[in-house]
Symmetry: C2
Subunit: 508 residues, 2 copies
């Protein structure tokens, strides 16, 4: 049990800033007042403790207020990805049993269609009138109670709703503070979508730490760079593609020393990007996290950022991490599946209708992450790839992230994606899509460049130049969609000459 | 459950400094190695999980190593005050059931006498030889398991052994970091005795935070001042008398900006001292803590240090605090007993032989601290005094700390102590002892000074000038001993002319 953390924070430091957005600035006192108003409204709409409330909102102050309002009456937040189709939303509403879905102007149409598909879910606009009543506000947050249900994107099959407790977020926040330090003048920039765990966890850290969230509605490299200069931002959570665009937009202008940490998540970062940051003295801290662990699991301590470039570091203090294969813990150096345990790990997934979901954790509390990696001789984690993304070509493991890193080392390549496609001879072969930095990419030169750096079986059998790679709302490459585009393009190119995506090179 | 925190810290940051003392410097890797060696030794001496091991040691590296060694094999630390008499030590050994007492050269004689009085307790020197064996080292620390048993000094009656769990220390450390911030380059100076909770808690924070303890064997104002200049100290835990002597020794030389926090505990601080620190720009943060809460309970946030001079601030984030009388919570502004609840509060005292101890906490988990105070209209705590020290004179409450503060406002007074003595007319009356800053104090002038500042019933009926006031090992004024000296002096002065303590003035 902890005191209701928004209320306690407001008692402790009412006048510190809680939220800075383009449209408003709230102190903790103001945030609490608005959350209380919303909590009353929700209660009047019939929301009770234990009910699920879905949020279909973009990054805006209202999201932050509603999240706390839902917490305060003991209801459970179900953040929905705003890019989902109405059918996908309807499925998540049904799976979670949310009785209310809150949308904004931009998501209203989608919400309406989804609600038609899913009888029983009400829609509310986030602009409803305030109401006065005697809503019971929680004095305490039970660390074992569910705070939210976050659907994992899931590269295959239906998404799974991970139950995240107040305790999961608490322990994650504490573990992160012990690793990165907690400075009283910190300001954390949230440009990751709030419906992802990486975004939501910033809102919770804000209240636990007593520091403001600097909220961006959407990713705009120039706006983020400006915010770093003008809003006193000290920490940014970002994914590689965001950081890469920030650097490009920034040009030679150095970042101010107030920016003490760029927490880089969302999968293995390309080495050239990390090297560029090291050269430019940008304090990048690589992290490995997952929805089921309330975000960060391992983070590279700042003092090792250069020495262990490319590593995701070591686990947070309260967390255990090991590499396993066939239920056995592997020695250092061996590649296997990353497995984690600790108080920040979700107690489980929501059951699906047919109860067919596998359990999240084993009897000893270990979660198998589905990610592949190894620990070096000092115990630093290197994440190789998603297990599901692994390409097995002629019996050899090909890690897409490794091949992407090699592609990104080529100066003209600004983004790269590698997937496996079926091959009659090898089972699977890697293929690649690249986005040019400016102008054109000579694919023959690129291939020659790769030949000197990668074993032959890792060199993509096909390299395409694309103007955009498929990414999700968090900026993560969606390899599944890249793979699909291959199949579609192959079908199309079989019938007519297509110029998008342009097939530039076909390997023998 | 948490990973064994010394082992996990060593895994995470093996090469960071753990301990800086006048004789040695240890990294976490070295500290762990030495603690493991000691753990094996203890196991070979027959110490098993659950056993109590008493430490009768001064502030030295060995203390830190032994504390961790005892933790690692699941035994329980019983820190003993090195100023206790052999009889008092024998009593605490008996009460705690410690099977082993570890002493150093300085405490060996006392330990030997105590052991004679208490059959069954073995004595070991801290210099024993290392041993090799297969000692089972804990992989995890159960947050509910006892870490140590610390005897409260107790102004009346026998001391009580407060059981402090790993969780109590963990939550206290986290609450403190959330309040003071956690900087990766912090170094915490420990000059408070390690056998008090304030000292021990620094050792535990060191491991949880990954920062070094700068350990001083004893309080020497010049050495502390030098350490602040030379050892990169950022935080000092101190009591008022220490700080006051530091300032006196320091003269006009400013403290370096690296010193970011002087955490001032051990009872209400005299206002003149706080004002001097404000003038000299010394970052004093007043705190209120108690053994039963693993140290800090409330701390003045740095941003309020000046605006709320004299307040002990607000509770740590995970802690609740209220003012009660007759079991009712009082409104803000009303004076009553301070009551606290939360995960840092000890689960209880050791039972005494006759099971006569009162329970520490009530059914709802609230601990009545025995301290008197109030919350102002913004919820800031002001600690007035120990309930047991309260003087009731003619039906009026006189708080010794308030009268002491008035005495300390007189330029020639460097220390002051106020107690109540029996009085036929008023029930009790306040009397005072003062220590001159340099030279003499004109008691008539001092009395006139007080008359302008205190209600008549608060003005001490007698003021004595003493060269030293009785203080315990933590530097806290021991009012009980001051009171005793009054009785003794009165008896002596009835039979002969005594010059120590000198009776300078007798009020009508």
């Amino acid at each position: 049990m902890l005191p209701n953390w928004l209320r306690q924070r407001t008692y402790l430091t009412p006048d510190r800033l809680a939220l800075i957005s383009s449209t408003s600035t709230l102190t903790f006192r103001e945030l609490e007042a608005q959350a209380l108003r919303r909590a009353r409204q929700l209660a009047q709409s019939g929301v009770r403790a234990g009910d699920k409330v879905a949020l279909l909102l973009h990054n805006r102050s209202e999201y932050v207020i509603l999240m706390h309002a839902i917490n305060m009456i003991g209801a459970v937040v179900v953040p929905l990805n705003t890019r989902l189709t109405p059918a996908e939303i309807a499925w998540q509403i049904g799976n979670s049993g949310a009785k209310l879905m809150i949308c904004d102007e931009e998501t209203a149409d989608t919400a309406a269609v989804a609600a038609q598909e899913r009888a029983g879910a009400e829609i509310a606009f986030s602009e409803d009138e305030a109401a006065e009543d005697q809503t019971p506000i929680l004095d305490f947050y039970d660390l074992n109670a569910p705070h939210s249900i976050i659907y994992t994107s899931g590269t295959t099959g239906k998404p799974k709703g991970a139950i995240l407790t107040f305790g999961n977020f608490w322990w994650s926040s504490i573990g992160s503070a012990l690793n990165l330090g907690h400075q009283l003048d910190d300001r954390w920039l949230a440009v990751l979508p709030l419906f992802h765990v990486g975004g939501m966890s910033i809102l919770i850290k804000s209240v636990i730490y007593g520091i403001p969230t600097v909220l961006h509605n959407e990713f705009d490299a120039a706006a983020v760079n400006r915010s770093v200069d003008e809003d006193g931002v000290t920490i940014i959570s970002a994914v590689s593609v965001m950081l890469s665009r920030m650097l490009e937009q920034r040009g030679d202008k150095p970042y101010p020393p107030s920016l003490r940490c760029v927490l880089l998540g969302g999968g293995p970062a390309p080495r050239p990007l990390l090297e560029e940051c090291a050269r430019r003295n940008i304090p990048v801290v690589q992290t490995y996290g997952l929805t089921e662990a309330a975000s960060q699991v391992a983070t590279l301590p700042p003092e090792d950022a250069l020495r262990k470039l490319g590593s995701a570091g070591k686990p947070l203090l309260p967390t255990e991490l090991r590499i396993v294969a066939n239920g056995q813990t592997l020695p250092r150096g061996d590649v296997g599946e990353i497995s984690v345990r600790g108080a920040s790990i979700s107690p489980g997934y929501l059951k699906s209708a047919d109860n067919s979901e596998r359990e999240m954790r084993d009897a000893q509390g270990w979660l198998l992450t589905g990610d592949i990696g190894y620990l070096d001789d000092e115990g630093y984690l290197y994440v190789l790839d998603r297990r599901d993304d692994l390409i097995i070509s002629g019996g050899e493991n090909v890690y897409p992230a490794e091949v992407e890193a090699a592609l990104l080392a080529y100066p003209e390549v600004s983004e790269a994606g590698v997937v496996g496609i079926a091959d009659a001879t090898w089972g699977q072969v890697p293929v690649a899509a690249v986005k040019p930095r400016n102008g054109e990419i000579n694919v023959d030169d690129l291939r020659e460049f790769l030949n000197g750096r990668l074993a032959q079986y890792k060199v993509p059998k096909e390299i395409r130049v694309m103007s955009e790679l498929p990414r999700n709302a968090a900026g993560k490459l969606v390899r599944r969609r890249l793979q699909e585009s291959w199949v579609v393009a192959q079908r199309e190119s079989a019938t007519e000459t297509s110029d998008a995506p342009s097939v530039v090179d076909e390997a023998k």
